[in-house]
């Protein structure tokens, strides 16, 4: 009892400082120099996360025996990765969570955070296990629902995910719940419903300006898939205004530019983006955009970088099998693609993995098998342009011409997601 009370007080201390590390201004970030005529200069929003990290590091040094300090710091690192994509921080976050769970075995906060980390590393089964343990340890708490839903979705268990998500939104409708409702609807092809739910998430807002901006970038994505390029551009620019430099928003705006056929500004934007954050997804988009624009040398160089980045992510514990399978199928070796896709399917039998496997089969010269898997990928009703293009091309290669025509998305819709495939479809 005594120890528990002591921990409570120390914990409160950690929390107080933690929250103030988040919120207090001044200190770490140098005052920005105002530029005449440029309007008010604002510190980059990510400075808040940096300050929070240093405050929590100080707390962990002063109170090394308090588990919550490690959990909060791991959460701050994860937030930092959201903002700058430095996956190396995952390794540090994992170490912190290990320490927290040694100090406080079964702590629901630590389990939830570890589940979030496992999701980021695409270890979905581990994430599901930790989410369930956190649920059992804190049945009245809402937070474990988010990671539970994400893990179920990524493992392809859409029915169970929908039920958990309904429970989540019944208990606490907020940004986290609304954004997940939106994604679930998007996966099922209900784009109008997805947009409505995401608009609720945006209106609700979150803990940080990054949360709101991230949601607005997702809104841009939905609009783009729906073919509403104007609105998609507005949402992406609004997200960048709210959180300058947010990678997801920058990528969203580049896609809008690609949809409008403005390849050069899109390429310039993507080059700036991958210079900061060379994720395989962005590098692939850049390389394909360059190839499509006739800059074949630059395109080949950027595409060649994807494998190196994948190795870096692997070193940080991130499993990229499903997306690398697509990359290998399009730009590398179909044989490697098939091996990666099989592994992805075994790890997480989701529509994403089915799509990867189907596309790898199609590219390996087995379009009939590819077409079967593509239909599985579309079983929920997804309107994802890449999934539709893969299915359509598989159908075309298997001789199902009529079905192919019904599936292949219009160039303007497909181009922002894969300029190479858009050209291939057009042929």
């Amino acid at each position: 009892m005594l120890a528990r009370v002591g921990t409570g007080a120390a914990l409160a201390f950690v929390l107080a400082l933690g929250a103030f590390g988040l919120l207090a201004r001044g200190g770490a970030a140098p005052a920005p120099t105002p530029k005449p005529g440029a309007g008010p200069q604002l510190p980059p929003p990510s400075a808040l996360t940096d300050r929070r990290i240093s405050a929590l590091q100080a707390i962990v040094r002063v109170r090394p025996g308090v588990a919550e300090g490690y959990v909060l710091l791991a959460g701050a690192y994860a937030q930092k990765v959201r903002e700058n994509g430095d996956a190396g921080l995952y390794t540090r976050a994992a170490g912190l969570l290990r320490r927290a769970l040694q100090l406080q075995p079964g702590d629901p906060g630590a389990l939830t955070q570890r589940s979030a980390l496992e999701l980021s590393r695409h270890d979905f089964r581990a994430a599901l296990g930790d989410a369930r343990r956190a649920r059992r340890a804190a049945p009245d708490a809402d937070a474990p629902f988010g990671v539970l839903v994400d893990a179920l979705v990524e493992l392809g268990r859409y029915g169970a995910a929908g039920r958990a998500l309904q429970a989540m939104v019944d208990r606490k409708p907020d940004l986290a719940a609304y954004a997940r409702v939106s994604y679930w609807r998007e996966l099922h092809g209900d784009l109008a419903g997805a947009r409505r739910a995401m608009a609720l998430a945006l209106s609700a807002g979150g803990d940080t300006s990054e949360n709101g901006a991230a949601v607005q970038a997702l809104l841009s994505h939905i609009d783009l898939v729906r073919g509403d390029v104007g609105r998609a551009g507005h949402e992406a620019r609004a997200a960048l205004f709210a959180f300058p430099g947010l990678p997801g928003a920058d990528a969203a705006l580049a896609r809008v530019e690609l949809a409008r056929g403005r390849a050069q500004p899109a390429i310039a934007r993507l080059r700036r983006l991958v210079a900061r954050l060379p994720l395989p997804e962005y590098l692939t988009l850049l390389g394909e955009s360059e190839m499509a624009a006739g800059e074949r040398g630059a395109g080949r160089r950027d595409l060649a970088t994807v494998r190196a980045e994948r190795r870096l992510l692997a070193a940080a514990g991130v499993d990229t099998d499903a997306e690398m399978a697509i990359f290998e199928a399009d730009h590398g070796s179909p044989r490697r693609a098939l091996a990666l896709a099989r592994r992805a399917w075994a790890a997480a039998p989701s529509i994403r993995s089915a799509d990867a496997l189907g596309w790898a089969l199609t590219r390996s010269g087995r379009p009939r098998a590819g077409w079967r898997w593509a239909r599985r990928a579309l079983a929920l009703g997804s309107r994802d342009p890449l999934l539709l293009a893969h299915a359509g091309l598989a159908a075309r290669a298997s001789g199902a011409r009529a079905q192919s025509r019904g599936l292949l998305p219009a160039g303007a819709v497909l181009r922002p997601f894969s300029p190479s495939l858009a050209r291939e479809v057009a042929r």
């Binding site: 929390l15 994860a78 956190a134 809402d142 609700a204 979150g206």
Partner: protein
């Protein structure tokens, strides 16, 4: 209470629950929606209910949301959630169910949809074209009998929200612009909604560093107000007594049967059916309560970490069933004894706290003779307002203050520390956090709360000047 609520609860939510922000990163392409633990736009942070000296026959309620607004928090600034329902609730029968509710619904209007700016320089009125983002709201008054809805009426619509005080270049003279957001209600009421100074004051550093008080036992000043300089979004509502009393009549005296009402704020959000269909439409039971607040400190000090989400989702009428045991044996009392072994704080059977906060003090704040324990802020509307309030309220001999309602200047942190310390059971301890007052003066007239700090020159934190110790029994001061 709130601030504590944000810290503890938010972050406690964090702990039980999941961390200030359980955030997946973005190593690659699977969808990673944010996982938020804080929900500022729906976070009821504080409720005040008092009889204002300039409106002695009316109930005045200040209800606050969106904690820790940094005045320089651009570029987006702060606003109420257009899609949430904000409530001020009144229980006048003592059963913990609302008999009267005022619902506030907001609508954001953007003048120039191609601009993301909040405002351009030189805003001089609420309708100024340079004010790009504006909010308006409507108020619906709902009445109930025995928990059943008996009437709903829109009593005002299209009222303006006072804008965020971005700074002197945007608002050359902010206060007169914001004053235009004070609006009359039919039947001699008044209302205001918008950004104001956060009226709460507390030294969080001492309170949460294991009650590591800076100066003496916290009764001699010297504390650092960690909320100084922050803003909050406030709804201030003033309605004549008959609008909220049980028999719809004015209150004749403090002993009148209709004198006491219980007040709390709450926030609902729309539920969705995941599978779409008509889930986005407003249907019965389509809303979920995501936050509530009555007495300061109950959510933080009394409700244990793992149950805070549940507390926020439940109604005061069920408080005894769900949370009674935590009030009778408050964790804070145990913490105090562990940290300061000589204090002899009573740990169990704290019926004194139950009565002060939840059932009401007979003859002062008890709504009805057999009223069950409910976490509502109980105010006796018959108590005449005093010209010389004591920040210790009732335990300072000033029965017009907390826990008889709560005035803006009531020092609820010091009061709570002393009450949990056993004041009402004769164990009078000279405890406090060393912060005695708000960082800026409150206004004498509606809306009473102080204007918001401006973004341009905001200063955070303030230190309370040291002063001679207050006695353990503040009424003897």
């Amino acid at each position: 209470m709130r601030k504590l609520s944000v810290l503890v609860a938010a972050s406690l939510a964090a702990v039980t629950a999941g961390v200030v922000a359980v955030v997946p990163g973005s190593g690659s392409s699977h969808r990673e929606a944010p996982l938020t633990a804080l929900d500022p736009t729906a976070d009821d942070t504080d409720v005040y209910a008092f009889t204002a000296p300039d409106a002695p026959h009316a109930l005045t309620v200040v209800a606050n949301w969106i904690p820790f607004e940094d005045p320089a928090g651009g570029p987006n600034f702060y606003r109420f959630d257009d899609r949430a329902d904000y409530y001020v609730n009144v229980d006048n029968t003592g059963d913990g169910r609302y008999d009267v509710r005022y619902r506030f619904n907001f609508k954001t209007r953007v003048r120039n949809k191609n601009s993301f700016l909040y405002a351009l320089p030189g805003v001089t009125s609420l309708n100024d074209p340079e004010l790009n983002v504006r909010q308006t709201y409507k108020i619906t008054r709902l009445s109930y009998r025995g928990g059943r809805l008996t009437g709903a009426r829109v009593i005002a619509r299209n009222l303006p929200v006072a804008p965020d005080n971005v700074g002197p270049k945007t608002f050359p003279d902010y206060d007169p612009v914001a004053a235009r957001a004070i609006r009359p209600l039919a039947g001699r009421g008044k209302v205001f909604a918008g950004q104001v100074d956060d009226p709460f004051f507390v030294d969080l550093g001492t309170t949460f560093d294991a009650l590591n008080i800076r100066n003496g036992t916290g009764n001699a000043g010297g504390g650092k107000d960690d909320l100084a300089g922050y803003n909050v979004h406030s709804i201030v509502l003033q309605v004549p007594e008959p609008a909220v009393t049980r028999n719809h009549r004015p209150v004749a005296s403090p002993r009148a049967a209709n004198a006491v009402v219980g007040v709390w704020s709450s926030t609902d959000r729309h539920r969705l059916r995941v599978t779409g269909g008509r889930g986005h439409r407003r249907v019965r039971h389509a809303d979920v309560q995501v936050s509530r607040l009555g007495n300061p400190l109950v959510n933080e000090v009394i409700i244990p970490l793992g149950r805070k989400d549940f507390f926020n989702a439940t109604q005061p009428a069920d408080d005894l069933k769900h949370f009674g045991k935590y009030v009778l044996s408050p964790e804070l009392a145990k913490v105090m004894n562990v940290l300061f072994p000589g204090l002899n704080v009573p740990e169990d059977n704290r019926t004194d706290i139950v009565q002060a906060l939840l059932t009401g003090i007979p003859g002062l704040t008890r709504i009805a003779p057999k009223a069950p324990p409910t976490d509502t802020l109980k105010i006796n509307l018959g108590t005449p307002p005093t010209a010389t309030p004591n920040r210790f309220g009732a335990i300072g001999g000033d029965t017009g203050g907390f826990p008889n309602g709560r005035r803006l200047g009531d020092d609820v942190v010091d009061i709570s520390l002393r009450v949990v310390g056993g004041f009402l059971k004769g164990n009078k301890l000279p405890l406090g956090d060393g912060v005695d007052a708000n960082d800026v003066p409150f206004r004498a007239a509606f809306p009473y709360v102080a204007p918001p700090h401006a973004g341009f020159d905001s200063q955070l934190k303030r230190v309370e000047p040291q002063h001679p110790p207050t006695p353990a029994d503040p009424s003897q001061g």
